[in-house]
Assembly symmetry: C2
């Protein structure tokens, strides 16, 4: 079953890529059918087994039943596509034209990766762990590859990182769009690390050089050395009113979410005047240690017409959103404050919704 | 009578500011009621007289009848607000949040400025000519001023510049939004030079220092000396499909306009793949020497989903559009190629329209 909400925002039909609709972003937990979907290849079939091999004492071949029998945990995790906001970068980078809602929060249930790796017993040569999905196809029209990403051995083995081999999303078995039957979930990192249709785990004695590790999902800076994409950068999203909304003149509460790759968001500010005045928003409780945090701020529009809202989040370490993105060729990690244009009318009834 | 189309895109209700709707941009000549409107102050009343004074041999006081009795010319002129596209600049500059259609082309009828100045007889001290509107109010909440701009004496006296004291727009008397009963029209320059509700012309023996000359409508660069805003920069606009349009899968012709401040546009290219591939568009005849030029380019979308269109114009002198704007504090002159997002669907019926 491919469960897709009617208002999921199509970015590409084949392979399927879509953004989360604003309606779904009103909720702390994004419904499965409305959660953004990123696919690099067509939906694959999965053999129902997970192999764990490489530099390990005890190679494993686990069935879904074996995995279901292991102790599982449930963690709400905000996942964001590394290319979210790409279309707002100037010059326009290459890649899928994600606008601003390739983000969602789900409650993931699965076996801790650290537990599975402990069963396999990485040996002393282990430096990285690669994760290969069942999805495959020609990479940029060339050689056929499987999607795959790696993590450093220390992070992969760290039980506090709460990396999961997930079998359920929001309490139901994974759907095909979200990696059924098994998906890695790496809290705090951009979504590319959370390998879907997880088929094979390979403990390695050297760096993994799959193309999605070393060619795609790499920051190629104008003015610096290339860097692999990893943690999600601090970002706030205005959810209500949505971009393009037609709203009334009266006082209202502007609402949204803020998150960062594993670092607590401690402040959100809102600008409503199109100038440089920022006011502190109120913060609600985070949905979880690895999930977004709600914020809200009262606002009375100054008059009819176009108004520009901007939200800006800051973490406990002082990291904050820039007012222009640091450009990179593939357009990753755009966490610049976003100008959200809304239309205020005396007779506005909160119609309209961002694309 | 305030004649305003229902779909004029409101930017600010008071003073009234609005963009041209995409529907109206399908036409070479923008209907008056749909032409973008920029006001700095509330609509003024105008005394029905034009004075011409200062460093002149023969100060004038002209009635509307006097002006109507003079030989008039009709010229199609593309006017664009200097702040058009401001909301696409990062960081967000101060000022009205113009998106991308604060532009329009009208057929203006009026008396050449050079003829009126010849009657007045500027003397040898004349270096500039200031134009003052009847509109007035506090400048940024401070001192009360009239809107006013100036031109160098050489340009003001140049009959080939076709600067008009306009009385008609598209064959009808000017409307209040567009400067009734008299408006300066300065072809090739951003709209701020085309002073509305023209009340007084002052030939000066020194530079005009009104706040709209020396404080607003000035490029304040991060990395250079301030410059007064003058000519419109080269720019192409995609009009069909409009931003946000839901369109079908079949072959189609992408259409738009291109213009530059008095310099001929000689090429327009279109990118439809979100990459760096550009194809030459076909150019149609310019609507006039001082007006935009139509272009078109065939395109068959590669599949369902989001597609990003970008058009790029180049002039006879080789000036072309940058792929990111040169930022300035007040956000003027954004002529960067614009990423126009459209939604392709198998059942698309060209619904939707950009904001």
């Amino acid at each position: 079953m491919i469960d897709r909400a009617d208002d999921l925002i199509l970015v590409r039909a084949s392979p399927f890529n879509a953004e989360t609709p604003y309606r779904a972003l009103a909720k702390p937990i994004t419904p499965v059918a409305s959660h953004y979907v990123r696919c690099n290849f067509p939906l694959p079939s999965h053999g129902g087994m997970l192999t764990v091999g490489g530099s390990v004492a005890n190679p494993l071949r686990l069935s879904l039943a074996d995995i279901a029998a292991m102790p599982a945990v449930t963690v709400p995790v905000t996942l964001e596509c590394a290319g979210n906001g790409r279309v707002g970068m100037q010059p326009l980078p290459v890649g899928e034209p994600w606008a601003g809602t390739a983000v969602g929060t789900a409650s993931w249930t699965g076996v801790p990766l650290a537990s599975v790796l402990a069963l396999a017993g990485p040996d002393s040569r282990a430096v990285e762990v690669a994760f290969l999905g069942a999805d495959n196809g020609p990479y940029k029209g060339g050689e056929t590859v499987h999607f795959g990403r790696s993590l450093a051995i220390g992070r992969a083995l760290d039980p506090t990182a709460l990396i999961l081999i997930a079998t359920m999303m929001n309490g139901d078995p994974l759907t095909p769009d979200h990696g059924a039957p098994l998906r890695l979930v790496v809290p705090g990192w951009y979504g590319m690390a959370s390998v879907k249709w997880l088929d094979r785990i390979e403990v390695r004695d050297g760096p993994f050089d799959g193309p999605y590790q070393v060619r795609s999902y790499v920051y190629e800076w104008d003015d610096g050395l290339p860097e692999p994409v990893s943690s999600a950068r601090v970002r706030a999203l205005v959810v209500d009113p949505a971009p393009g909304a037609v709203i009334g003149l009266g006082p209202r509460t502007v609402r949204g979410w803020a998150w960062s790759g594993g670092t607590a968001v401690t402040a959100v500010e809102l600008s409503t005047d199109g100038g440089d005045a920022w006011r502190n928003a109120e913060l609600g409780e985070p949905v979880g240690d690895w999930a977004w945090r709600p914020w809200s701020c009262d606002w009375t529009p100054g008059g009819e017409g176009r108004h520009v809202l901007r939200a800006r989040a800051t973490t406990v370490t002082g990291e904050t959103q820039p007012d222009r993105p640091r450009w990179n060729r593939q357009g990753y990690g755009n966490n610049a404050t976003l100008a959200v244009v809304v239309d205020v009318r005396a007779n506005g009834r909160d119609e309209g919704e961002g694309r």
